[in-house]
């Protein structure tokens, strides 16, 4: 069963603009991760945020986590053409098995 769901399913923005993607999940978690996938490649880990953290930064990436709403957001600032990819959130389930479950992803397209 799907634990996380990304929103929107697809997003097109102009280069230089900020891109925001959201993830909602169903059960309590230990941590939430964001991954990126380019066509024909495997997923690449971007950032991990623990359940006791509210915000985390890495370069042009900013991730927030709201455990009361069971949601997270990924913000990419000053987008570039190379940011075109699919982005996935992944969660484990607190006090359940350690299995990491992915959402269906957001397809981000940066227009030149």
């Amino acid at each position: 069963s799907q634990q996380g769901e990304e929103d929107p399913q697809a997003l097109s923005i102009q280069e230089g603009e900020n891109a925001t993607m959201n993830c909602s999940y169903k059960t309590s978690i230990n941590n939430l991760q964001w991954y990126r996938q380019n066509s024909g490649r495997g997923l690449v880990h971007l950032i991990l945020i623990r359940s006791n953290e509210r915000e985390k930064h890495s370069g042009r990436l900013r991730v927030t986590l709201d455990t009361s709403k069971k949601s997270s957001s990924l913000l990419i600032t000053a987008s570039r053409a190379a940011d075109t990819a699919s982005y996935f959130c992944a969660t484990d389930r607190l006090n359940r098995d350690d299995k990491i479950i992915f959402g269906k992803g957001t397809r981000l397209h940066i227009l030149p």
Binding site: Q2, N30, N31, Q33, Y35, G40, R41, G42, L43, V44, H45, L48, R50, F88, A90, D92, D97, D98, K99, I100, I101, F102, G103, K104, G105
Partner: protein, 114 residues
């Protein structure tokens, strides 16, 4: 060092045949996953194992999918009696720790069942 490597990159199998897909994960990594990725369903956990070689915690109850881990950094996903619905990209991923640890993915094997 080397990342996660999967082989073959592409596989075509006739319906009803068995297939085996290989994953060489990162040395020292404890947890190993197999995911099946399709456009409609995203990435679905097939199996995952933690440190104990050959112990397969199936994420998807099905008698046709199984994983063997003869060495800690090698895993083989076996699909018996393939069906057309098994056409997908099969991704292998490993992580250093049991939890709170990023997954490192291979580039996948694209399986086409004809």
């Amino acid at each position: 060092g080397a990342g996660v490597s999967q082989s073959p990159r592409y596989k075509v199998a006739k319906r009803g045949r068995d297939v085996a897909l290989r994953c060489d994960s990162i040395s020292g990594h404890v947890t190993l996953y197999w995911y099946r990725q399709t456009l409609g369903q995203g990435s679905e956990v097939l199996t995952y194992s933690q440190s104990d070689a050959q112990r397969d915690k199936s994420g998807r109850p099905s008698g046709r999918f199984s994983a063997e881990r003869p060495e800690r950094s090698v895993s083989t996903l076996k699909i018996q009696r393939t069906e057309q619905g098994d056409s997908a990209v099969y991704l292998c991923a490993s992580s250093l720790l049991r939890r709170n640890s990023p997954l490192h993915f291979g580039n996948g094997t694209r399986l086409t069942v004809t």
